[in-house]
């Protein structure tokens, strides 16, 4: 272990807050070797991102405090080197992909500039940097790469931003890449390409990869070794196979047991009345057409999954439906009335009936509001639950339902992990007990055990209250477990639609077929076999 490229030993990180100290990371040790892939699995909020930030020297100290440990890179303790020395390592030798790409891209510079800067900041010539950026952006599958480099972050889809972050991190072929949930917003075909790219780079430069992820399939596909974290500590470690087949720690057992994609498939009740009818939605951004005439029908109590290529217009569909953006044409009948032309006054009532969980939860939470304020705001707006005690209680209840603690109500968004923020956003949507919840990648940042808990909750609400879901997701396992109907989108169009059962058993459109084929299995053995088979057919 001493000759490892990067070793984290005994790391402990505390956060000082008004309400006492949070022990975010406790005596965590792991290491990664040249060419090796270490997957860090674990509970949401267990300290994965914080320990990664510690390696990059990105923790603000205070409020964070590194109370013990060392981080050895090529034998040097990164906690002791000078700021300047660390800076020179960052990006060049150790690169990082952040969990929340929207916030982590600078909104006022073009993505091209930001990617290129990774190289120019370390003294590489501009023209080489440009060429490399173009190459990588093409490799991660961004359409029209030349043009894309000249665009700004807000002009991309969630998955595209994530890929741009990946391209940025790979610019200098770092020795260590810390990837914090790099594929959560990618559809499985692109995820496969990205994983292939990472592996290729590993083979080429011997890059050590630290992969923080919740996706057991990704772990099975790429990880050599696995550490599992729970509540700030390491629960278990071993090779990917050992951990999957022979988990020791109860948390690991629970985690592996919760892997989605194995339950019974739901079917839609035939007589459910239509709630929402979207017809011929068209949305253009300048010359680019993001939606090319999308039509959909959603019944009361239905859970409709929208899967599809990253950048195919799923989020755009959700946003135009909610009148956050104006569609160029098309109608959306909600309970018989057109949302697109509805006057603002009437819209207010409808707003309570339709809620949304945004794809980038962090940015959708007002940083100046506490969790309590965030969740209870809807009640203020719609004049519900006037009693303060009742409110407190309901907030606590909601937080517990999504796997958080009642005491989290007084914290502010920046004090949470990515997955925790996503759950706050879910709790906020649930608070209003709407008729329809649009979930844009609403569970992608959750570890599978919490994910299962949240999905069970949503299912329960659907059964009890008849809530419908428009469920945008990439994780086919989740979709299979949760949805009764699936539509598949590609390049702004719906290419296939049908009951979940039918789509999963007999996909018709070639894209759907490819999608299903690229789906990863959580079992490392199964994945190994598939890889062999894949190699053979090539």
């Amino acid at each position: 272990m001493t000759d490892a490229l990067l070793t984290v030993r005994d790391l402990s990180v505390d956060f000082h807050t008004v309400r006492g100290t949070v022990h975010a990371v406790r005596n965590v040790s792991w290491s990664v070797n040249k060419g090796e892939t270490l997957a860090i699995l674990g509970e949401s909020g267990s300290g994965k991102s914080v320990s990664a930030s510690a390696v990059m020297n990105l923790l603000d100290t205070p409020p964070a405090e590194i109370t013990s440990g060392e981080i050895l890179f090529e034998g040097k303790d990164l906690l002791k080197v000078s700021y300047e020395e660390h800076r020179a390592l960052n990006g060049k030798r150790i690169a990082m992909i952040f969990q929340d790409p929207l916030g982590h891209l600078n909104p006022v510079y073009t993505v091209g500039w930001q990617i290129v800067e990774m190289m120019t900041a370390h003294g590489r010539p501009l023209d080489r940097a440009r060429a490399r950026a173009l190459e990588l952006v093409t490799r991660v599958g961004i359409p029209e790469p030349e043009k894309a480099l000249k665009k700004y972050p807000h002009q991309f889809s969630g998955g595209q931003r994530q890929r741009l972050m990946i391209a940025m991190a790979l610019m200098l072929k770092p020795d260590i890449l810390i990837a914090d949930e790099p594929t959560t917003a990618l559809d499985v075909t692109i995820q496969a390409e990205v994983l292939a790219l990472l592996k290729e780079l590993q083979a080429e430069t011997g890059m050590g990869l630290v992969l923080i992820t919740h996706d057991l399939g990704v772990v099975a596909e790429i990880a050599d070794r696995v550490v599992v974290m729970s509540q700030g500590e390491i629960a278990e470690r071993g090779t990917a196979r050992e951990v999957y087949h022979n988990p020791q720690h109860p948390y690991t057992k629970k985690l592996i047991g919760a892997a989605p994609g194995k339950g019974a498939i739901k079917t839609l009740q035939a007589d459910a009345p239509a709630l929402l009818e979207i017809s011929e939605f068209v949305k253009t951004y300048g010359e680019f057409t993001a939606l090319k005439g999308v039509s959909l029908t959603l019944a009361r109590g239905q859970s409709l999954a929208v899967v599809g290529e990253s950048g195919s217009g799923k989020s755009t569909l959700a946003r135009t439906l909610l009148r956050l953006e104006k569609p160029d044409s098309g109608k959306a009948l909600w309970k018989g009335r057109d949302l697109v032309t509805m006057p603002a006054r009437d819209l207010l009532a409808v707003r309570r009936e339709i809620q949304m969980v945004f794809q980038d939860p962090t940015q959708s939470l007002n940083p100046r509001m506490s969790v309590y304020q965030l969740i209870s705001e809807g009640w203020d707006i719609h004049r519900l639950i006037p009693d303060r005690r009742a409110r407190r209680q309901r907030v606590a209840e909601l937080l517990e339902q999504v796997g958080l603690l009642a005491e989290h109500a007084s914290r502010y968004p920046h004090q949470f992990s990515g997955g925790q923020r996503q759950r706050i956003a879910i709790a906020r949507a649930l608070a209003l007990e709407p008729d329809l919840i649009i979930c844009d990648e609403a569970v992608s940042a959750l570890d599978v055990s919490v994910q299962a808990q949240v999905m069970a909750l949503l299912d329960d609400l659907r059964e009890r209250l008849g809530i419908s879901y428009l469920f945008i997701a990439h994780d086919l396992g989740v979709v299979r477990d949760f949805a009764d109907t699936v539509v598949v989108m590609k390049a702004g169009e719906i290419v296939e639609r049908g009951p979940t059962e039918a789509i999963f058993s007999a996909p018709r459109h070639p894209y759907t077929q490819r999608l299903l084929a690229a789906n990863l299995d959580p079992d490392p053995d199964v994945q190994a076999q598939r890889r062999l088979a894949g190699a053979a057919t090539q």
């Binding site: 990059m56 990105l58 990006g91 916030g103 891209l105 600078n106 909104p107 700004y152």
Partner: protein, 304 residues
Amino acid sequence: MMKLIGQRAIASLLSLIVLMVLVFFLSRLTGDPAALFLPIDATEEMKQQFRALNGLDRPIIEQFGLYVWDLIHLDFGESLRRARPAIDVVIEAYAWTLPLALITMTLVIVAAIVLGSIAAFNVGGLIDRGISVVSLIGASAPDFWIAIVAIVLFAINLAWLPTSGVGTPWHWIMPVAVLFIRPFGLIVQVVRGSMLQALSAPYVKTARAKGVKNRPLIFVHTLRNAMLPVITVIGDQAAALLNGAVIVETIFGFPGIGKLMIDSILQRDFNVVMAAILVTAIAIFIMNILIDIAYSVLDPRIRQ
């Protein structure tokens, strides 16, 4: 873009007209210029004659009509006090004010942005404290103190600089320095506050993860995000300078628009007041258009 500027120019022209109409009528509420132009013991006939000569005896609406008529022919009228075309007087003065404002503002912008950013980056540290306190004292000290103390020190005691006047570049140093202080103090604080907010954004972490050096981290990555309120305040301060700097012009005998404007207002030399406001308003409107363009250049999300 061109179309937008065109629209903006038309809208600004309308506000210019509103402004001129307002000034025309409001200024005429403030008393009779004849009493001020003529000596205190002037006879009523002399006053009458003066009013008649300058058209002040006609009904105000008629005066307005005549003014507009002349204006259409690009005639801004004569200065009551100076027996010269008002616009000549104003342009002469503005030729002094404009460079003074530009030089001062350039220095202010550079210094305030650099020091304000540094203060924000070192928030709570000694550098921050030093910059803040010094700039705040500067921004709130009466400017004639600074001007007179500067004259006593640099012109009389040290004899490094001339006391006042214009002519050589040396003459400009003290006026520029004194004018510099207040906008500098103000903008430093705004830069500091805005930067403080921007520095806690996650994209700053990205830049650090990339290994970006502190200087570009502050001045490239963060500053541009913090610039919106800063350029607004810069605009406000620049507008103040474009309106002329009365105290400095008075003390240093600098023949700018500020003193001219004050004197003309106090003497009710309406034509000069109108011409001066017209010229300064055009300068300010152009500056505001530039600032609004700057907003959308700085922040792509504002572009619509």
